[in-house]
Assembly symmetry: C2
Homo-oligomer: 345 residues x 2
DNA sequence: CTGAAAGCGCTTACAG
DNA sequence: CTGAAAGCGCTTACAG
C-alpha cells in the first residue's frame, strides 16, 4: 500500500506537509494542498491508522464487552453504542463474553493490548483482577447495565424496581400468589437486584418468596429450561414464573411446552427485557422493557466525556412494565371486540 | 503504561532480549528469561499491540462486515465467526452496515485503515468501488452468505434451492396455489436467488409467480410489514406469504395481526432463516434453516487460509426446511394426541 | 545467547 | 508556509 512517503514524493513536498494537509492543519499553502490531495487521489492513499495511533497515543476506538451477543437486549445495546460512538468519531470493538468470566477476561485483555481509548463493560461477574486493576489504573471505563460496586466508575443502567413493583401488582390483581423467579448469577448486579426487587414488591402484598421458588439461572436459555423443569416438578409448583431475562424466558417456554402445558392456562410467565418477538409468541409475553437505545447512547457519552477530560455522569433510567397476555386474562381488554383476540376459556 | 524499555531496564537486559522472551524465541538464556518474566510480572507489563502491528505489518485481526446485527441470523453468524477466529488466534472487529451501502462503505474503509489482516463480508449491495478495489488489490477477502459475482473472492454460503423446493411441495400439498414472496434487495444475491428458487420450484407445479406477488423488501422488519399490507389489500390476496428473511417475517406477522387476521387460517406464512423464537410464535413458523454456525466457521477458515498463504476454498452448504404450523394443518401429526396441539378448526 | 541499530508510518515541536 | 528530525513501542537481521 502507498505510504505517506509515496504521497510526499508524488506531490513534491515533505511528509510533514502531507500530514498537515491530511489533518487539516491551517498553515498549508493552497498550492501544496492541491498537489497533495491530487497525489492522494491518484495513489489511492489511505492513512495507516496503526501508525497514527502509535504516534498520537490514541486509537479513537472504544471497547465494548458484553455478556452475550445472542441476547437481543445486548445486540440492541451494541447497536446503539456503535451508532453514538460513530457520531462522535469513534469506532467500537465488541467482545462477547458469553456469560463466561474467562472469556470476559480474554476480551478485556485483548482490548487493553490494542490500546482502546476507553472501555464499556457489562460485567459477567464481580470483576477479575485484570479489570479491577485497569479501572484503578485510570483506564477510562463505564459500566452499562450491570456494574461492579466499590469502583470509581460511572454506571449507566435502568432501574427496574418500580416496573417490578408494577408487575407484582399485576400478578396479584390476577389472583396469583405463588410467584417464582428464574434469577441471573448472584455475582452480577442485575442477577441479584431483580430478585431483591421482586422479593420486596411481593413483601408489600404479604407474599413470601421461598427459596424453592428462586431458581438459579445464568441468563442463558438452557438454564431457564432447567430451572422451569424444576419448578414444574415441585409438589406445589408456582403459578407464575418470572424470568430475569428474555433468553431464560425462552427456555422456560421450551420447558412448559415440553411438558405439554400451556401459558398462561397452566402457568403464567413474565420476563425482564422486552423484545419484538414477545408480541408474537403464544401467548404474547408480559415483559419489563428497558430504554435500551438510550442506555447505549448515554453510556457512550459518559465514556467519551471521561476520555476527553470532561466529568462523566452516571445515569439511571426507568424501565417500564408492558402487559400482554402471558400472565392471564388481559386486564385492559380493548373497547370493541377485536378478531385478533382468542376466545379464552 | 510500562513499555518494553521499562521492562528491559528493570530486568537489566536489552529490549531485544525482552522481545525475544515475549515471543518465545529459542535463543534466550534461562537466567535472562526468568529476570524478564519477573520484571513483566512486577510492572504489570502488557505489550502494545499497536506498535507490534506497525512493526510486523500484521494485526491478527479480521474484519467482519455484516448487513444487520439486529438480525438474529447475522448475530449468530458473527458469534461463530468470532469463536473460530479466536481459536485460530485472531480477533474480529464487526462492522454493522444496517443494510445501508453508505454504512457498509464506512466500515470497510475504517477496517482497511486499521489494516486488518482480512475481510469477511456479506455485501449489502453490488459492491462499492472501494470494496471492489480492495478485492482486486489483493486484500484477503471472503464473502459469507451474500456475495458479489465476477470477483475472485471465495464464497461461503448456503444453497437454499432444494429447501425452497421442499417448501413449495409442502405448500402445494396443503392446497395452496397463490404464493407470494417478500424479496430482499435485488442488488444482493440472497435477494434475487431466493425469488428465483421460489419461482422455479413453483414452475415445477405449473404455478406462475405474478409480479403482484413479488414484494420488494429490504430484509428489515418494516419492509415486511409494508409489503404484506400491500398483499392483503390486493383484490385477490395470496394464500401464502414467504418472507425471504426472519425480520421481514416478523413485519409480516405484525401486518397480519394489525388487520385482525390470523396465521395460517387467513393467510399462511413461511420464512427463510430459522430462529429459536419461531418455535414459540403463534403459530410456530415454518422456516428454512441455514447451518449458520458452520458457515461462520468455514468462512473464517477460508479467510485465514488465504491470509496465511494456503489456497482458500469456497464452500456451499445445504439449507433445510423445518415444517411447523404456519402454513396450515400439520402434515406430520404426532402418533399420540398431545395436549400441546391446539384443536384446529 | 546478547545488544546496538534500523525501521514500520505516522505527527509535531522546532527552526527557518 | 515548509522541512528535517525526533520519537511513539515494538521486532529482527546483523555482528559479536
Amino acid at each position: 500500500m502507498a505510504s505517506i512517503k509515496d504521497v510526499a514524493a508524488a506531490a513534491g513536498v515533505s511528509v510533514a506537509t502531507v500530514s498537515r494537509v491530511l489533518n487539516d492543519h491551517p498553515s498549508v499553502s493552497p498550492d501544496a494542498r492541491t498537489r497533495v490531495l491530487a497525489a492522494v487521489e491518484r495513489l489511492g492513499y489511505r492513512p495507516n491508522a496503526v501508525a497514527r495511533s502509535l504516534r498520537t497515543d490514541q486509537t479513537r476506538t472504544l471497547g465494548l464487552v458484553i455478556s452475550d451477543v445472542l441476547n437481543p437486549y445486548f445486540t440492541e445495546l451494541a447497536r446503539s453504542v456503535e451508532e453514538e460512538a460513530r457520531a462522535l468519531g469513534y469506532s467500537v470493538i465488541i467482545g462477547n463474553a458469553d456469560e463466561r468470566p474467562d472469556l470476559q477476561d480474554h476480551h478485556v485483555r485483548t482490548l487493553l493490548d490494542r490500546r482502546i481509548d476507553g472501555l464499556l463493560v457489562s460485567p459477567t461477574d464481580g470483576g477479575s483482577p485484570l479489570m479491577l486493576d485497569a479501572a484503578r489504573a485510570g483506564t477510562p471505563m463505564v459500566f452499562v447495565d450491570r456494574w461492579i460496586p466499590g469502583l470509581d466508575v460511572p454506571v449507566v443502567r435502568a432501574d427496574g424496581r418500580s416496573a417490578v413493583r408494577d408487575l407484582v401488582a399485576h400478578l396479584h390483581g390476577l389472583g396469583h400468589r405463588r410467584l417464582a423467579i428464574i434469577a441471573g448469577p448472584a455475582a452480577t448486579t442485575t442477577g441479584s437486584e431483580r430478585v431483591e426487587a421482586f422479593r420486596e414488591a411481593m413483601a408489600e402484598y404479604g407474599i413470601p418468596l421461598p427459596d424453592a421458588y428462586i431458581g438459579q439461572g445464568d441468563f442463558q436459555a438452557e438454564s431457564g429450561r432447567r430451572v422451569t423443569e424444576g419448578f414444574l416438578g415441585l409438589d406445589e409448583p408456582p403459578e407464575v414464573v418470572f424470568a430475569a431475562d428474555n433468553l431464560m424466558a425462552l427456555g422456560a417456554l421450551d420447558a412448559v411446552r415440553a411438558r405439554g402445558l400451556r401459558v398462561p392456562h397452566d402457568i403464567a410467565l413474565a420476563a425482564f427485557d422486552d423484545i419484538p418477538w414477545f408480541v408474537h409468541t403464544d401467548p404474547p409475553i408480559t415483559a419489563i422493557a428497558q430504554p435500551t437505545g438510550e442506555l447505549g447512547r448515554a453510556a457512550v457519552r459518559a465514556l467519551v466525556d471521561r476520555i476527553e477530560g470532561r466529568p462523566p455522569r452516571s445515569v439511571t433510567l426507568a424501565a417500564r412494565l408492558v402487559v400482554r397476555r402471558s400472565c392471564g386474562e388481559d386486564p385492559n381488554p380493548p373497547q370493541s371486540p377485536s378478531p385478533v383476540r382468542r376466545s379464552t376459556p
